[in-house]
């Protein structure tokens, strides 16, 4: 790396130095280079409320026009290339601030196989810690940089040395060992029979047995609404076709589990139905076992298109060849230099340490070198095809004013998009691998980082999976409080998406209004948990602590303030004739296409499918509150957008009801089932947290839970061996990951400029999709 201080030196040289320094100080334009989830807080820092423009920092233009990069958190190996490119493209003098803990030494993802350290790639001026950072912190970083430019060379914090009384005779303390317990030869079984009270299941089982006669090896009811069918690799395709004929029209998840000591892979597909109402909550898992050597299995993409991207992903993770999927042998999520087959058990990531012994170098560094090869390949046959048919290729992102952390390569003919090839994975932080190396309770903050603009729902989805496995209930008060928080989080996520939607139309005012509304909800979440967008407040069995009545009062009042600002947003953006003209009839996803691509959440409902996990399989207090599911028929951008606005109103309704109800319910907020002997923690877990949760072990088997997060159904599959206190395998299917397929389908045939309308209308949040 060249002299890291070169840019400051340049400013200080020559007779014009005072002018150069002064102008650089007040004109730090950050470039549009959003690298990870801290981008949400970046948006807040430059929206109303914090207004970074006060300092002269204006988010305008791309690399060539800016002189400042704010690296938002994690730099994955794929993004590292882009970072190097962007930094190279910027004119001197230029400055770099890194925000977020994961930009420093990896933060919560420190031992991930797919991240690098920004400081290895570009010279960094300031690190701003926090996960996620606050906008105040970000702006303070900008101020610190301004001071540095003016020649005030100091750290932002002045440490003072004090003399502390030191006791000589301390007893020697042992370095704590890792509390993790791994079973040496775990027994992995995904179809463990359970006696449940589920009449329709018995019926369905009989029906399935009749249909699939001779095609399956075993059929088990593994829980309410869960059936597991074991079959052979050869019969897999036929079983899938039969299931499809029975109206199991999409796949919710594809999963591969490696069992090294038995030298086998378990490949499972979770089929579900959007067409038949009583089948909606049911998940039918068909699974098969294949040998670990040269694993090959027929791809079910021809039957279920929604399995397509998941198969590509698992091919990269495990090396299982899905015969028939056209992306085999190529990279999809991972970078070219990411280690191969990272999710296999043989691939070990560094262990966490709880204390450092003397003389031992901390193993902080990511064990993998930063990327050297900068080439980002576009597939050759793709280019040839385009040149043959008089089209141009336009790659968008990840450094583009309107791309987010996603790269899409278009083939454009005239103004029409012929084909769009997505390249996700720029924020792939390898959560599934990390989760296998953490205690169950440690995974709560990890999975919350899926979508920090929808944190409570992500938190809830994981916790529900654990609760489901442990079979514990939640006290009524906690149920209502959890519902309140989840709905607040939903509103928050929808407003984030609406803000991005209006920004993609060039309407900055709409964006600012949305951020202002979000600011209020964040305030409520802050009052509850103390954190802006990473509360980690929901724990198995209830909540971390009780929410006082004053805060509930505040939330109640906030719903009224919300309504007023909502109307302002509607009058300036939603009813704007230009918005309607841009969004109406664009990016249409028909009901058939939506089902085929396995869309989830509001985007599925906008296409006319009445599917909402909150209604079909109610959890928490959703069966006790009154709300309606919004569906639309158009399936276009406007429909998707207005549908979510309508859902916000329903969410506000739920929040009001839940807050009203919870005032009348007193009692504990943590279930006795989980507390065991620590009854004193019933209203506040503080002080007993590790004792209660530290050694959770889930019963043997597979535990799949679906939860309705803001952007759709979130699926968590936990596989436990019944002995270890860490999960054997966690499979996360986040809503955006499922929506990616439909998103690409909706883009095809539209005009080039419509890509942003479609993008905004899907609320695609790359960190959530990439996991």
């Amino acid at each position: 790396m060249e002299n890291p201080n070169a840019h400051i030196d340049f400013l200080e040289s020559g007779p014009l130095a005072p002018f150069k320094k002064w102008s650089a100080k007040w004109s730090l334009w950050p470039c549009h280079f959003i690298t990870s989830c801290c981008g949400v807080e970046l948006a807040h820092a430059f929206a109303c409320g914090y207004d970074g423009e006060r300092l002269g920092t204006l988010n305008l233009g791309i690399a060539r026009q800016s002189n400042f990069i704010i690296i938002e958190g994690t730099i994955t190996r794929k993004m590292a290339r882009a970072l190097q490119f962007v930094y190279g493209q910027m004119p001197d003098p230029k400055f770099v601030n890194v925000i977020g803990a994961c930009g420093e030494r990896g933060g919560i993802f420190w031992n991930s196989y797919n991240i690098t350290h920004p400081s290895d790639i570009v010279p960094v001026d300031f690190f701003i810690p926090g996960c996620p950072i606050t906008p105040e912190g970000l702006l303070r970083g900008v101020r610190a940089l301004q001071a540095k430019i003016m020649g005030v060379d100091k750290t932002t914090i002045d440490f003072k040395e004090v003399e502390l009384p030191f006791e000589e005779q301390l007893e020697e303390r042992l370095v704590p060992t890792s509390p993790k317990l791994y079973a040496p030869t775990p027994a992995i079984k995904v179809d463990i029979k359970r006696e449940v009270d589920w009449d329709f299941g018995k019926e369905l089982e009989d029906k399935l047995k009749k249909e699939l006669i001779d095609l399956y090896e075993s059929m088990t009811i593994t829980g309410v609404n869960r059936i597991a069918i074991k079959t052979t690799p050869g019969n897999l395709m036929v079983v899938a076709q039969k299931l499809k004929e029975m109206q199991f029209d999409h796949v919710k998840s594809v999963n591969v589990i490696q069992v090294p000591h038995e030298r086998k892979f378990i490949v499972e597909y979770m089929a579900a139905s959007y067409s038949v109402e009583e089948l909606m909550p049911v998940l039918v898992t068909i699974f098969t076992e294949i040998g670990i050597k040269d694993p090959k299995i027929p791809s079910l993409t021809s039957v279920w298109e929604s399995a397509n991207y998941s198969e590509r992903e698992l091919h990269e993770f495990f090396g299982v060849l899905f015969d028939g999927n056209d992306w085999m042998g190529r990279k999809f999520l991972l970078a070219p230099d990411t280690p191969d087959l990272p999710l296999r058990k043989e691939f070990k990531i560094p262990e966490e340490r709880y204390a450092f012994e003397e003389g031992v170098e901390p193993e902080f560094m990511v064990p993998i070198e930063p990327p050297k090869d900068l080439s980002v390949p576009i597939w050759e046959e793709f280019i040839e095809k385009a040149y043959d048919s008089d089209e141009i290729i336009v790659p968008i992102g990840p450094h583009h004013a309107g791309s987010g952390h996603l790269r899409v390569t278009f083939r454009v003919k005239g103004d029409r998009i012929v084909d769009a090839i997505p390249e996700p994975g720029f924020v792939h932080r390898s959560m599934e691998k990390l989760a296998e190396n953490k205690l169950y309770i440690q995974n709560i903050p990890l999975f919350e980082r899926l979508a920090i603009n929808d944190p409570v729902n992500m938190n809830l989805a994981y916790v529900r999976a654990v609760e489901n496995a442990l079979g514990i209930g939640v006290p009524e008060r906690a149920q209502y409080l959890r519902t309140t928080m989840a709905e607040l989080s939903r509103i928050e996520a929808f407003y984030y998406d609406s803000g991005i939607f209006s920004l993609f139309f060039g309407h900055t005012t709409g964006f600012m209004y949305c951020m202002a509304i979000r600011e209020m909800i964040i305030e409520a979440l802050m009052q509850i948990s103390g954190s802006r967008s990473g509360p980690s407040f929901i724990v198995p069995g209830g909540l971390r602590r009780d929410i006082p009545d004053t805060v509930l009062e505040l939330i109640d009042n906030m719903t009224f303030a919300l309504n007023r600002r909502m109307k302002k947003f509607e009058s300036i953006f939603v009813y704007n004739p230009v918005t309607v003209a841009r969004a109406k009839g664009v990016g249409v996803l028909t009901k058939e296409d939506a089902i085929r691509c396995g869309m989830v959440g509001p985007f599925l409902r906008a296409s006319g499918v009445n599917y909402d996990v909150r209604k079909i399989a109610p959890y928490d207090a959703y069966d006790k509150v009154d709300f309606e599911v919004t569906t639309g028929d158009d399936g276009d951008c406007l429909g998707r957008f207005l549908g979510r606005l309508a859902e916000i109103k329903e969410s506000v309704k739920i929040v009001k009801q839940a807050v009203d109800a919870v005032k009348g319910i007193q009692g504990q907020i943590l279930s006795d089932d989980i507390l065991g002997e620590y009854k004193e923690a019933a209203s506040d877990i503080k002080g007993n947290f590790f004792r209660v949760y530290g050694n959770l072990v889930l019963p043997k088997g597979e535990w799949t839970t679906i939860t309705e997060a803001a952007r759709g159904t979130t699926l968590f599959t936990l596989i436990s061996d019944g002995e270890s206190n860490v999960p054997y395998r966690v499979r996360v299917i986040s809503p955006c990951w499922m929506n990616l397929r439909g998103f690409m389908e909706a883009v095809k045939g539209e005009r080039y400029a419509d890509f942003w309308a479609v993008y905004g209308s899907f609320g695609y949040f790359p960190p959530e999709a990439d996991r």
Partner: protein, 386 residues
């Protein structure tokens, strides 16, 4: 041989009439030291029987020169370029519940923000990438000033009977339209020489937009020429003695305004530069001072178009006469009117999202064209028949 003394008398006989200057002059004479300095300066008479200081000031106050240099010429344009982006950021910021630039100079609400930005651009590296056409890439942003600055020669900032115009010609409006039509050619050159995908798309969009607004634009200018029965800018202002152009032909004013918004690529027609789609389209590869020039290009164009609109529709510099200011008061009214149009234009950013290219073309070739033709017919009815 040039008749120098004749030229001198031409200059001195055609002076801007600002009574305030005489008041200042007499006041200066009364101050002890400065008064004697002024008297001394006035005593230096090398030739032509005129003090040299009088000759210098006289040259600046020579009407065509004063109009070109001060109002509405370069000085006003420069000031506008410095404060307009700041005003835009402040106003849009206020619409968005924000403050906008402030900390740089808190007392004056950050009014020198653009100074810092332009200084920074000036001191930054100018990158010419490998694929660019080096010569054109560098020269187009500078050449662009020609079609922008030349129309200033024909703008009449005066009122009825008191013209303030550098060059008076019967073909002034036609020449201005010709020059304005040249502007997109330079933007296309910029995009072409950048040799970048997004620049290419942006350039094509610019070309599409060019035709969509240019034809209605020319038709409304024609409508105003028919209405005023002259294309001389002095005659145009004189014809608005009783009623302003906007009252006589409001439709033409509307079309002119929309065409101006399209021509300057402001929202909702910010299509060639679409930040989120093309990241500044034609200007994507520009950095440093070259981008700084590209950044103010749009504002220059806006100023010229607003000035023409003030002249054609808002009666030029007509307005209540401010005592002691003489000709300057017309100039002030002219600038105020222009500024109002400019502020309306920049405020659109806070209100409208961006149209798609085909929708904007529909607007240009559909509604706006029809309105322009109706405006022309109305002008014919009003100006010729009645």
């Amino acid at each position: 041989m040039i008749d120098v003394s004749g030229l001198v008398s031409t200059i001195l006989n055609n002076q801007v009439n600002i009574p305030l200057l005489y008041v200042i002059y007499e006041f200066l004479l009364k101050i002890p030291v400065i008064g004697s300095i002024v008297t001394f300066l006035l005593s230096i008479i090398p030739l032509f029987d005129v003090p040299i200081i009088r000759l210098l000031i006289g040259f600046l106050l020579w009407k065509p020169m004063w109009v070109l240099l001060i109002i509405p010429g370069f000085a006003t344009l420069g000031t506008m370029l410095l404060i307009l982006p700041w005003l835009e950021r402040k106003l849009v910021g206020r619409m968005q519940w924000r403050v906008g630039p402030r900390e740089i100079a808190p007392r004056t609400r950050g009014s020198i923000q653009l100074l810092a930005d332009s200084l920074r651009f000036l001191c930054q590296e100018v990158i010419i990438h490998k694929d660019a056409h080096r010569l054109y890439f560098l020269q187009f942003p500078f050449l662009y000033f020609l079609p922008v600055l030349l129309p200033l020669l024909f703008i009449n900032a005066g009122a009825v009977g008191r013209p303030l115009v550098p060059i008076e010609t019967p073909y002034a409006l036609q020449i201005m339209v010709g020059l304005i039509s040249l502007m997109p050619v330079f933007i296309m050159g910029v995009g072409w020489s950048s040799n970048n995908r997004f620049a290419f798309i942006g350039t094509v969009r610019e070309a599409f937009m060019y035709f969509a607004y240019e034809i209605p634009f020319i038709i409304v200018i024609l409508a105003m020429i028919v209405l005023f029965k002259t294309s001389n800018t002095v005659g145009v202002v004189n014809a608005q003695g009783t009623y302003w152009g906007i009252v006589l032909n409001p439709l033409a004013a509307l079309v002119f305004f929309i065409a101006a918004v399209m021509a300057t690529a402001r929202l909702p027609f910010e299509i060639p530069e679409a930040d989120q789609e093309l990241s500044f389209g034609p200007f994507i590869e520009y950095s440093g001072i070259a981008f700084g020039l590209a950044y103010v290009m749009a504002y220059e164009k806006m100023y010229v178009l607003s000035a023409i609109m003030t002249m054609l529709f808002l009666g030029g510099g007509s307005g209540p006469v401010i005592p002691y200011l003489g000709d300057l008061s017309y100039g002030i009214w002219f600038v105020i009117k222009t500024l109002i149009i400019l502020l309306v234009m920049v405020n659109l950013r806070g209100v409208y999202p961006r149209y798609r290219l085909d929708q904007a073309l529909n607007v240009g070739w559909g509604a706006i064209l029809i309105f322009a033709i109706v405006a022309l017919l109305w002008s014919v009815v009003l100006g010729v028949v009645l």
